[in-house]
Symmetry: C2
Subunit: 610 residues, 2 copies
Amino acid sequence: MAQLKNIPFQQVDFTGGFWQDRQTLNRDVTVGAVERRFRDTGRFAAFDCNWTPESELPRPHIFWDSDLAKWIESVAFLLQKGPQPALYASARAIIDAIAAHQQSDGYFNIFHTVVEPENRFRYRDRHELYCLGHLIEAAVAWYNATGEHDFFDTLDRYIDLVIRVFQKEKSAAFTTPGHEEIELALLKLYRLKPDKKYLDLALFFLNERGPQDQLLGDWAKDKYNQSHLPVRQQHTAEGHCVRACYLYCAMADAAALTGDTALLTACRNLFDDITEKKMYLTGGIGSSHHGEAFTVPYDLPNDTAYAETCAAIALAMFAQRMQIIDPDGKYADVVERTLYNGILSGVSLDGISFFYENPLEICLADHEKNRSVNGGDRLPITQRLEVFDCSCCPPNVTRLLASLGDYVFTAGERDLYIQQYIPCRASFDGMDVTVKTAYPADGTVTVAVHGGNGKRLHLRVPGWCKAWTCSAPCKTERGYACVDVTQDDFTVTITFDMTPQWVAANPLVKADAGKLALTRGPVVYCAEGVDHPFSLFAAAVDPQAPVEVKESYGGLPTLQGKGRLSAAGDGLYYPASESEKQTPVTLRFIPYFTFANRGSSDLLVWLRRA
Amino acid sequence: MAQLKNIPFQQVDFTGGFWQDRQTLNRDVTVGAVERRFRDTGRFAAFDCNWTPESELPRPHIFWDSDLAKWIESVAFLLQKGPQPALYASARAIIDAIAAHQQSDGYFNIFHTVVEPENRFRYRDRHELYCLGHLIEAAVAWYNATGEHDFFDTLDRYIDLVIRVFQKEKSAAFTTPGHEEIELALLKLYRLKPDKKYLDLALFFLNERGPQDQLLGDWAKDKYNQSHLPVRQQHTAEGHCVRACYLYCAMADAAALTGDTALLTACRNLFDDITEKKMYLTGGIGSSHHGEAFTVPYDLPNDTAYAETCAAIALAMFAQRMQIIDPDGKYADVVERTLYNGILSGVSLDGISFFYENPLEICLADHEKNRSVNGGDRLPITQRLEVFDCSCCPPNVTRLLASLGDYVFTAGERDLYIQQYIPCRASFDGMDVTVKTAYPADGTVTVAVHGGNGKRLHLRVPGWCKAWTCSAPCKTERGYACVDVTQDDFTVTITFDMTPQWVAANPLVKADAGKLALTRGPVVYCAEGVDHPFSLFAAAVDPQAPVEVKESYGGLPTLQGKGRLSAAGDGLYYPASESEKQTPVTLRFIPYFTFANRGSSDLLVWLRRA
């Protein structure tokens, strides 16, 4: 098993470009917008733990703790790059509140402190350990940012309680958490503070998960929370996507920390099952709102796509961990696919509103059917919201964007991997690395390495790229162009052909049968009704016609393609020959992540092939 | 308004061919099979009205009365064509039981006699008037078949109670039935026995339906049972399809009986809205199981298609009524479309099992997702059943098949319309009409009219037919080839080109975008997985390649077409150029109505166009 290390974002400074713009928006607008809406909805005040049935306060939700934990983590990430006194104060107040309301035995959970204190550790689906997991991640980030270890110490007492109740006494009503998260959090904590109790507890939760768990009861019957098989026997991705990918993250981390090859094999198979059978072109996963879950291979409907923002983030997190233990460009390819598409679509261009679901098709006319009590299939909303009742996604987006530098480099003793092409400077292992590029607006990337003589540079050649050139001698290996660094000041330029590409889906994806999608580099494009004076559903694209690169929107070029419009006459069915009466049309394509920023509109990623 | 008359099946004798075979199977197998399963499930015994909460008997369902009523009606239709002593005895016993358990004020309803007697006429959704409607239809048929008017008299007392309670005293808890049916039944009765009270009651129910109904309450808010607007203001088909089309039948009948042109206009618009925006290629309607209802225009998903057998029958009934008051071949076209496809698919080739839902696509792999408690979208079952909990469809099929002769001829003073091409002999209006044809296996139809000199013969030119010839001078008028009958023994031959045709859908039907379906004459074809050693979902059809007519299956030819198979490789997404690696394949097409007679299998009506 390979044992690369990840270069953390603290050591990576973005120096401009697309992602720095998004990080700036995230820092200056989004993190504050999330705070404001979390305050409005009572999530901050809930940490005062003074809700009673008689109070006017909103009743705390079982995972409000985690909403704020992810927000605090976001703030901590920002603090690493510069002072944020107001955000610091808001976060610090919550950390203090947690300490103030921690129970004498170490327990902390808002809902089970004020709403149902009698039901501590009683229901597996109550997210107590999930909340603790997010608090641990927040505390790790807080310590890294501020050096303050009190948050950390508070949670350590809670972890000790969990070790006693779950691992030693086995006195809880369940064995493993209903929503995974604490496993990866404990392993993250263990890397920071290598106390074996953290590793042991994480491995305990991993190893106990499955039908062998005596306390599982009915939960064993389904795949919803990955309890259908022992984790090392799981080779197909099943159930709730976020739960699944958080589990797989922990499995990958555990494999890295323990050298457990059975875990590695399971992780490889799970990753391939997702990305070769169950992933949207945008990197979205979880095609059904039923259980927010994976369904069956190739079941990827576009209009009812669930494709939760958190699930795409979780997939990126899983892929990032895999590239450390199994160096292959396919992992960073998936990170890239999710970042530019299914994750970024989750936040509006003005940075203040969010999608929980990220459909690949919207037909506004079909939304009429949901307005009748006759019902109809559930369709995702067509405009982003500033907050949701279940608002897990917004702070997940903010923490990801704030720590995006985590995804750029991995390194081994001799090897340096450039996983994502983002203009930046980084210093590690005695090297200074500078990346200059306007990627993905432009396909040229220049990497300068100072002090790396003798290293081997691995430049990812994206899976979507069919033509590229490199200024230095190189050979291709598992998705990377490998270049030997032959001098102390070494510069190499790699250029990727960014010609727009029409993409087809595996024919077994019924929803995309006979259709094409337009991509340019890693960016998936879409057509919106607002740009077209005709129904997009009556249009078909001509993949032979040239696609023109046009003005930017949302920071990246728009594209213009040609197609044909079918005459949508009266009636329903015609001889095929009659249906060929078509007129040429021009189609405008915008980056998928920018959809729904100009009001509700029809949307198509996959268009019929003319 | 035109005022044709319908030639009833009593005057029409089938003389062979496809439909006579189906009628024979219906008579000799299906009617008995339905009786057997209705006995097994307690539906016959329920008429003894001796269920109690303590009894071992199954609790009667609120519309078991109607299940048996349609079965009795089927038996009565058979009795018109020959003796059926066993069926007669079974039906007669139920008629006697109804009389025996009729309440002193005339009321009869099993459920509200034995289960909830305190709730007579209290809940609009309890189907009491719907059941009475079906009993009236049965009594009319029974009288026509046997001359026995006691059934009739029994129900007349019940009708008098309904007139008193609903129309005069207005003492029921609701004004109009939640499930329409009694309206068309009363108008059928009125034609047989022109007592104005029947017409008045039917018109009362029609006129009171709508938001102006003071007792409507919440029901007014939805379209589910067509109470959203007064009937004359309804111009789009909404809500539960069977309810809707039964209502539209009554509206058309009332228009015919009263000359009400506002009703005629509404009916025309409703028919066009259905058939030009909301009807499957098979004639199925009601695309969603939510409310078993119409949804929005062009929303016609193939895999989740509800397309209830009863709804297709109800559409045929509506179309039949329209061709009487608005002579246009489009109505009989729809009758034909439903008969050969969406209705006939409702019963197995061996005549003993039934589909309630009639999907146009089955992907067995997708059914796996329904096996997980994570759920997934509901999909129709893949094999017919002998009986359902809600078993309205089987006796609806049997009564339709037994009375199919009703759909062949309409006539005016001077005009004779041949609406459906079925080999038969008929005598009416002093004429003997003989139709000879092997339609739709063959496209030639010979009509001989004896005693019709001076009449005008209207031979329907099906909407699907693009080329035809007629042996006599004719001109085309509203979908008919009009031929003057110029002598007492007059024969004309019309020949329709039966070359298989590839059909495309209106581009706004998203589910069929980029796809084609194969038809031959009125028959829609499909491909089943069982006939193909590859996934049908990876295949695309070539509409330029010749389609061969092959051996029969289910009484009609199968077809063989050519297509291309996409290499379904690993992975999900490829450059469009790579997806063009295809190999030629031969595809077998069977008539749609024969699908699922050889075990569960993948099914496709609409295939990708190569």
